[in-house]
């Protein structure tokens, strides 16, 4: 019998180097581990059924636009017309039973969290959407790219904290780019 398989992050120290800030950290970069991620797309004519199922199971209303609707450990993040990204830190929240095209992406995405007073400035060197609090606050979400790397990001709180979901194979590059942009602004990046 082969040994059980160990789950491993896409990030390793030598491709995603850690860094510690000189003094007060401008921002903190971490990987968000152990989240369930799935894409959910509504079938034709069954949109209401899906909305009801989500309400029933997760206690939230599917958002109509690019925002994050969260309840408890689970959230639905608008990803396009009739499409959502489901993210949950509750291992039992598996959405595969929903009446929709559900595709597990828990391994397809790496989620990073960037938090702190310099987070916005660091992100704005990579992402060109408007992150100003008037335009983008907690609950706001956007699918965009960070210097050419596709990302889906949302703001969690006013720290500000951003969570950035990136295709796993790009995670190390994105990490380096955030860490590099953060270097002059005092970043604490640890795996």
């Amino acid at each position: 019998m082969p040994e059980p398989l160990i789950a491993r992050s896409a990030l390793r120290a030598h491709v995603a180097p850690a860094s510690a800030p000189g003094s007060a950290p401008g921002a903190r970069l971490r990987e968000v581990q152990d989240v369930l991620v799935a894409t959910v797309a509504a079938f034709k004519g069954r949109e209401d059924e899906l909305a009801a199922a989500v309400r029933e199971r997760y206690g939230l209303d599917l958002p109509a636009g690019p925002v994050r609707a969260a309840a408890g450990a689970s959230a639905f993040i608008g990803a396009g017309p009739g499409k959502w990204l489901f993210v949950s830190s509750d291992p039992s929240a598996d959405p595969s039973g929903l009446p929709a095209a559900v595709v597990d992406q828990s391994d397809g995405r790496t989620t990073l969290s960037l938090s702190g007073p310099a987070a916005r400035e660091i992100l704005s060197t990579l992402v060109s959407i408007d992150l100003h609090p008037r335009a983008f606050g907690p609950g706001a979400a956007a699918a965009t790219h960070a210097s050419g790397v596709a990302v889906h990001l949302w703001q969690v709180d006013d720290a500000p904290t951003y969570e950035i979901a990136v295709f796993r194979s790009y995670a190390a590059t994105l990490w380096r780019w955030i860490a590099h942009a953060g270097a002059a602004r005092g970043i604490d990046a640890a795996l």
Binding site: P2, A10, F43, K44, S169, T173, W177
Partner: protein, 993 residues
């Protein structure tokens, strides 16, 4: 010489801070707050450069970004930067600068002999000569011309500094921080709008810093500082100093460059040298000010001839005197300030020459300064060889007189800085009253205010700026920004003289465009030869094409062309300004991601394992893939590849196939959808089966191939080639959303979700069997060739197992969630140890697929049809699919088309290479006989010699024929036998085993 020309008091420099710098090796001193130019002025340095063509001695003309003469090489070594304007280079301690375009030294420039031949070097002279003998052009003439051209030089070393890009969104962007810009920013900022104020200079204030004026009862510079303090305190106002807006793009997008660390000896650790800003603005106020014009007279390029406004900048802002004894030559009243400021600074004003018949302000100023005043007079020529020693003045009555002086301050009027307003193609319009070009139709969302719009009075600038700022904020949805115009001293109603543009009466050259050495005579010659369109004038004489883009000289040149051709200035027209407004370092536009970070690097799940195994990697698009896994004793890729192929063919190997594109297709219409995008039918394929699929472009050529597996009723899983993954996803979304919107089907990229390993070789089943959890039958019956199963491995990890083979061996593709990818390959290798497993890389994979004759990237290159690849059988005749109709065009079904074959060298030791062409044996290897080419070649360990795949005209009919494989670029010329493209196990027994 220690700051010999620094005034005893005054200016905005910090006299307590002394900075040492060197110019052409000579150590000098300046102060914090100086530019390199002002420090040179303070040290009495007049000669700062040599001109482009004639190597004439040149001095500073301006104090700003328009400077045409004072260009230096800044810094040394890899940080050397050519063509830096001394007028915008902020002084720092230890700055080193070299003059340019001179040899051996600035003062003694041998190239100045060019001046002797200058009469011949008119505009466009090279079009008329250097044609004989033809071969001499590249060998002799051109190198000479090229060596003479160009000003500074690059180090040739990689730029060691870092750069950064950033985006900022705002309601109102204000460009320029003179009185108009500050008023605009205050008016908009006070309303609560998000405001970005971008100023090229290191200090805010624009002309306020250069004039002895009061605003709101305090000195103008102090008012600017107060305004700055208020703006800095507003939470949503961003002040970007040292930031030049360089271009206007569509929908309120602006490009700007912030010089983050150019005023430091070297950037701090991790600090970018410059930051490139994308500014997204709802509304914009352009308050870029105006630039003073020269007047063309003899030797008007002598060091010591300076714009009158620049003289004030040096005196008032920098506390430095550009001369001790000045002649002021002007056609407008603004120069009266120069006269007064010179006198106030203790400089002598020898004469004031007012080109207009009569005027008031200048007269008063001259009187107050005790200078001779010449109405209607003109400076005909600057006297002196290396620098100005006097001015030859023609009086209105006809006589001339020579007035000794070391400074000629000139004002030919002002050109509003309209450049950015014309970046969308609208030409500026001429205003007769102001004798200036004003903004034409400005880009959507942009308003122009202050001197840039022709408001030349301070009060007007403040009022216009405030009005524009308020209106901009309102348009962006904000109100209530109040700005009461502060009091300013009354200014005289000014009289603007259009001309004189040029002064005759001197034999000496009179310059229009200083940097490119375009003289009045060149403009005249252009007119004579028919280059009368301003655009022809520009290109024939290079007027306005130098690093200053004609900021000082352009209007002058156009005006002279108008005069020469007897047209008005509006009839003559003007050329168009384009981005960048001021030159921008290429490195800054390149941004942060250089070298290895130029593009993202995608790492497959086995990457770290492969690294540990000492794999050699190869870039495949953005992916890094293991090319081969060298083992001790193997001396090159070839030996490793042979071992890996042999191991797979005789035992078993494992390969990371995760880079293939993987797409999840779900929905009631998934099958129908695939039927329309692939050439064969998939709706009828049973669950648990997989098949090869071919997709065409609508024009009938092959787009991509892959495998399609049916996991459940409305659920398919398809793969694409690594290279076409993104393109296929896009194509499928296009088909889904646009071509066939009625179908209920959903796509998701799952490339990164699944780690996928090919386990191939006669012992593959043994390895797989050791990994799958109990109860999963992977026997030939349980999982036959082209079968698919969802199961678990290694104690409960969900997996998908496909019985597919690219290598031609008994093979499986085992997919597990990517987090287990690393552990999975280790487990596979471990489970395979008893069977002699080895990991294999892209090299071995490529060899095996060539041995099997599978088409891949080199064959599916966008130029081939299904028929070319021997896959006509895959084109369903029972249904429509994308590309079906156009695939029937004559040109695509021509029997003469090159078609896929295999090649085997007659001499079995011969090497074959992809890219070689094919001709019949015994014919000339010329184009007319070209019958195709080698698409892929490899050494086949299984055959013991090189083999190749090729596209050969009527190939399949020619089995057994010997063709010539001609590769002149690599001196290759061998004979090959045309054979089937499948070199290993043509019956396919192994993969079904």
């Amino acid at each position: 010489m220690s700051q010999s020309h620094r005034l005893p008091a005054g200016g905005l420099v910090d006299r307590a801070k002394r900075l040492s710098f060197s110019f052409d090796g000579k150590t000098l001193e300046g102060h914090a707050g100086d530019t390199l130019a002002s420090a040179l002025v303070a040290n009495g340095v007049k000669l700062v450069g040599r001109s482009f063509k004639y190597h004439r001695p040149r001095g500073l003309v301006s104090a700003g970004a328009e400077e045409p003469n004072g260009l230096v090489e800044l810094r040394t070594g890899a940080r050397r930067e050519p063509n830096v304007k001394a007028t915008t280079a902020e002084l720092y301690d230890g700055l080193t600068a070299q003059s340019q375009n001179r040899w051996p030294s600035l003062a003694f420039d041998l190239m100045a002999v060019n001046q002797l031949a200058a009469p011949m070097f008119t505009a466009g002279f090279y079009y008329k000569t250097f044609m004989w003998p033809a071969a001499f052009w590249e060998k002799l003439y051109e190198p000479l011309i090229r060596r003479a051209a160009g000003l500074g030089s690059l180090s040739g070393e990689a730029d060691p500094d870092e750069y950064e890009k950033a985006t900022v969104h705002c309601d109102v962007l204000v460009i320029g921080s003179g009185p108009a810009g500050l008023a605009a920013a205050l008016a908009a900022g006070r309303s609560g709008a998000r405001v970005v104020l971008a100023e090229e200079d290191f200090a805010l204030g624009g002309r306020l810093l250069a004039e002895r004026l009061t605003v709101g009862g305090v000195p103008a510079a102090q008012w600017a500082a107060q305004a700055e303090a208020e703006l800095a305190a507003l939470p949503d106002v961003t002040l970007l100093k040292r930031t030049a807006v360089f271009g206007v793009y569509d929908d309120g997008v602006y490009g700007a460059i912030e010089k983050v660390a150019d005023h430091l000896p070297v950037p701090a650790p991790h600090q970018p040298r410059q930051r490139y800003w994308r500014i997204v603005a709802k509304r914009t106020v352009l308050a870029a000010g105006a630039i003073e014009r020269p007047i063309a007279f003899g030797n008007n390029d002598r060091p010591g001839v300076m714009a009158a406004g620049a003289v004030r900048s040096y005196l008032n802002r920098f506390g430095a005197a550009p001369g001790r004894r000045a002649v002021v030559f002007a056609n407008n009243d603004d120069a009266a300030r120069t006269v007064a400021d010179l006198a106030a600074a203790g400089c002598e004003v020898a004469a004031v020459v007012d080109a207009r018949g009569d005027a008031t302000a200048l007269q008063a100023a001259a009187k107050a300064a005790g200078a001779t005043l010449l109405f209607g007079g003109q400076v005909v020529e600057a006297l002196g060889r290396g620098a100005v020693a006097g001015a030859r003045i023609a009086s209105a009555k006809g006589g001339t007189l020579d007035v000794p002086c070391d400074l000629i301050a000139v004002s030919g009027g002002w050109n509003p800085s309209v450049q950015l307003s014309s970046h969308h193609g609208a030409r500026p319009r001429w205003d007769d009253r102001l004798a200036a070009f004003l903004p034409g139709q400005a880009p959507a969302g942009m308003a122009v205010a202050g001197a840039a719009s022709g408001a030349f009075g301070l009060a007007q600038c403040l009022a216009e700026g405030a009005q524009a700022g308020r209106a901009a904020a309102e348009a962006a949805g904000f109100s209530g920004g109040g700005f009461d115009r502060p009091d300013v001293e009354p200014e005289p109603e000014e009289v603007y003289g259009a001309g004189p543009w040029r002064v005759s009466g001197s034999k000496a050259k009179a310059f229009v465009d200083f940097q490119n050495d375009v003289s009045v005579k060149d403009v005249e010659l252009a007119a004579r030869e028919g280059f009368v369109s301003v655009e022809h004038l520009k290109r024939y004489t290079t007027l306005g094409m130098a690093t200053d883009q004609g900021k000082t000289g352009n209007v002058l040149g156009l005006a002279i062309m108008a005069e020469v051709t007897g047209r008005t200035i509006p009839q003559t027209g003007s050329t168009l300004a384009r981005s960048p407004f001021a030159p921008v370092a290429l490195g800054a536009l390149g941004g942060a991601h250089r070298g290895k970070e130029y593009r993202p690097t995608r790492l497959p799940p086995s990457h770290f394992f492969a690294e540990e195994q000492g794999a050699v990697f190869v870039e495949t698009g953005q992916w890094m893939r293991a090319a081969y896994f060298p083992q001790a004793g193997e001396k090159d890729w070839f030996e490793s590849m042979v071992r890996e192929v042999t191991t797979v063919r005789t035992k078993v190997g494992v390969y990371d196939a995760s880079t293939l594109g993987k797409i999840d297709v779900q929905g009631p219409d998934a099958g129908a959808f695939l039927d329309r995008v692939y050439t064969s039918a998939f709706s009828k394929m049973p669950v648990g089966k997989a098949r090869y699929g071919l997709a065409l472009r609508e024009d009938g050529f092959v787009l991509d191939d892959g495998t399609i597996a049916r996991l459940a009723e409305g659920h398919y899983y398809l793969t694409t080639s690594t290279a076409h993954a993104a393109q296929m996803m896009r194509h499928l979304e296009f088909c889904r959303q646009w071509l066939f919107p009625e179908l209920d089907v959903h796509l998701a990229s799952i490339t990164d979700q699944w780690a996928k390993y090919a386990i191939a070789g006669p012992r593959a089943r043994d390895v797989v069997a050791a990994l799958v959890d109990e109860g999963n039958d992977v026997s030939n019956e349980g999982l036959p060739f082209l079968g698919v199963k969802e199961l678990t491995v290694c104690g409960g990890v969900k997996a998908r197992l496909f019985r597919l083979s690219f290598s031609g061996e008994l093979a499986y593709e085992l997919a597990v969630p990517a987090r287990y990818g690393d552990a999975m390959i280790r487990a596979i290798v471990k489970a395979g140890e008893p069977f002699g497993i080895c990991p294999y890389g892209a090299e071995a994979l490529a060899v095996m697929r060539i041995e099997k004759g599978h088409a891949a990237g080199p064959e599916i290159n966008g130029q081939t049809t299904a028929g070319d690849l021997g896959m006509t059988g895959l084109l369903s005749t029972k249904k429509d699919f994308v590309g079906r109709t156009l695939a029937t065009r004559d040109g695509l079904v021509d029997p003469n088309r090159p078609t896929l074959v295999g090649l085997r060298p007659v001499d079995r030791t011969a090497r074959l290479r992809a890219g070689a062409h094919l001709v019949k044996r015994g014919v000339q290897p010329v184009a007319a006989n070209d019958e195709g080419y080698v698409t892929s070649a490899a050494y086949s360990p299984s055959n013991g010699h090189w083999i190749a795949l090729a596209l050969l005209s009527r190939g399949p009919e020619r089995m057994g024929e010997i063709v010539r494989v001609f590769d002149p670029v690599r001196d290759g010329d061998v004979e090959c036998e045309v054979v089937s493209p499948c070199f290993v196990d043509p019956e396919g027994a192994r993969l079904r085993a």
